[in-house]
C-alpha cells in the first residue's frame, strides 16, 4: 500500500477535457469543484500558466464535487458536461468559475444561453442527470489517486502538494522541465 508520492491512477485519455497539444511536455490535471472558493482562486492561476507555457503544457480538468459541502457543485459539474456534449465545455467551465456564487439552475440556464448552447438539449441533460455517472467516475479516480481536497493538481502524473499560486506552481513545473518558464 503506498504511503507517499500519490500519483494519477486514471491516465489522461480521450474521455478527458483537454486544452493543449497531446505532445505537450507538461500535463497539468486538476480535480476541482465549481463551487469551491479555493478552486475559484486557482482558476486565474491556471489561465496564467497556460499563457506562460503555451504549447508546452496541456491542461485537463476532472470533477471532484464535494456535494455534502457545496449544494450546487454536482449540478454545476453536470452543466459543464452538458455543455461539453455540445463542444462548449471550456466556455461553461469559465462561466462557472467566474460566477461561483450564482450556480442555481436558473443561472446555469442563463450561462447555457450566453455561450450559445441548444438550451432545450442542455435542460434535458440536466433533468435526466445524463452525466452523473461520468462525474462519479472522475470523483472516484481522484480518490484513488490521492485527491484529498479541492483543488488537487497533478503535474505529469504526480500530485502537487504546494499552494495553488502562480509562483509555486510555475516553480514546480520548471523543476519538471528543467528550465525557467517565466
Amino acid at each position: 500500500m503506498k504511503s507517499a508520492g500519490p500519483s494519477l491512477t486514471l491516465p489522461v485519455s480521450d474521455r478527458d477535457h483537454i486544452l493543449g497539444p497531446a505532445n505537450a511536455e507538461i500535463t497539468l490535471v486538476e480535480y476541482g469543484d465549481f463551487e469551491c472558493p479555493h478552486c475559484g482562486r486557482a482558476y486565474p492561476v491556471v489561465e496564467e500558466l497556460r499563457e506562460l507555457l503555451g504549447n508546452r503544457m496541456r491542461f485537463v480538468y476532472r470533477h471532484f464535487p464535494l456535494t455534502e459541502a457545496h449544494e450546487h457543485a454536482e449540478m454545476a459539474a453536470e452543466a459543464a458536461e452538458a455543455a461539453g456534449e455540445q463542444n462548449r465545455f471550456w466556455e461553461m467551465h469559465r462561466a462557472l468559475f467566474t460566477h461561483q456564487d450564482s450556480l442555481d439552475r436558473t443561472h446555469l440556464a442563463r450561462y447555457a444561453l450566453s455561450i450559445g448552447l441548444d438550451t432545450a438539449r442542455f435542460a434535458h441533460a440536466i433533468s435526466e442527470r445524463a452525466f452523473a455517472k461520468r462525474i462519479r467516475e472522475d470523483f472516484m479516480s481522484g480518490v484513488r489517486s490521492g485527491v484529498n481536497g479541492t483543488p488537487t493538481f497533478f503535474i505529469n502524473g504526480l500530485r502537487y502538494d504546494g499552494p495553488a499560486e502562480l509562483r509555486f506552481m510555475a516553480d514546480a513545473i520548471e523543476q519538471v522541465l528543467g528550465a525557467r518558464v517565466s
Partner: protein, 171 residues
C-alpha cells in the same frame, strides 16, 4: 512486527496490522456513549485527527462525509476521534453536516489515542491517524499522516478491499 504489549506501553507508534484493536467507550454526543465492541461483525474505520475546526481536518472530514456511501459498500462504519469535547464535536458536525459520529477522547484526555499509539503528548492532541479494523476486531491496516497533510481515502479503500471483495455481505 511489534507486539501488542510493546506498542501499548511504549506508545512509540501506531498499533500495527495484526493487533487486536483495544476496545473503548466514548461519548458520541453529550448524552450517548459508543463502544468499539458494538461494531463487531463489520469493519470499522477509526479516524484520529488533531482537532475540530482546523482547516485540514475540515477538508478531511468533508471528503470522508462524501465517501460514506463507498465505505458502506463494505458494510464499514466510520468513527472520528479527537480530544475535543462532545459539545464541540456537536457544533463541528452540525456546521460540516457530518454524517458519521465524532467521539470525544476527552476524559481522561487522549486515553484512546494513547492506547492506539497515536497521542502527541507535547501538543496534547492525537496524530492524524487511520486504522481499518476487521469484523473480528483485528487491526488490518494503520497509517499515520504528517500532521498537516490530509491522508485522503485511497489507503482506507485499499484496506477495505483487502478485507473482502466488493459486494460480499458479511453477517
Amino acid at each position: 512486527m511489534s507486539t501488542t504489549i510493546a506498542s501499548l506501553t511504549a506508545a512509540s507508534g501506531p498499533l500495527a496490522a495484526g493487533t487486536a484493536a483495544p476496545d473503548f467507550r466514548l461519548p458520541s454526543t453529550p448524552d450517548q456513549l459508543v463502544s468499539l465492541s458494538e461494531f463487531l461483525g463489520r469493519p470499522v474505520i477509526l479516524v484520529f485527527y488533531p482537532s475540530d475546526w482546523s482547516p485540514v481536518c475540515g477538508d478531511q472530514t468533508t471528503l470522508y462525509n462524501e465517501l460514506l456511501p463507498e465505505f458502506h459498500r463494505f458494510q464499514a462504519e466510520m468513527l472520528g476521534i479527537s480530544v475535543d469535547g462532545a459539545w464541540c464535536h456537536l457544533a463541528f458536525a452540525h456546521d460540516r453536516k457530518l454524517k458519521f459520529p465524532l467521539l470525544a477522547d476527552f476524559e481522561p484526555k487522549g486515553s484512546v489515542a494513547r492506547a492506539y499509539g497515536v497521542y502527541r503528548s507535547r501538543e496534547g492532541v492525537s496524530e492524524r491517524a487511520l486504522f481499518v479494523i476487521d469484523s473480528a476486531g483485528i487491526i488490518r491496516w494503520s497509517y499515520v499522516s504528517p500532521i498537516g497533510i490530509n491522508p485522503g481515502a485511497d489507503g482506507i479503500l485499499s484496506a477495505l478491499e483487502a478485507l473482502s471483495p466488493v459486494g460480499e455481505t458479511k453477517e
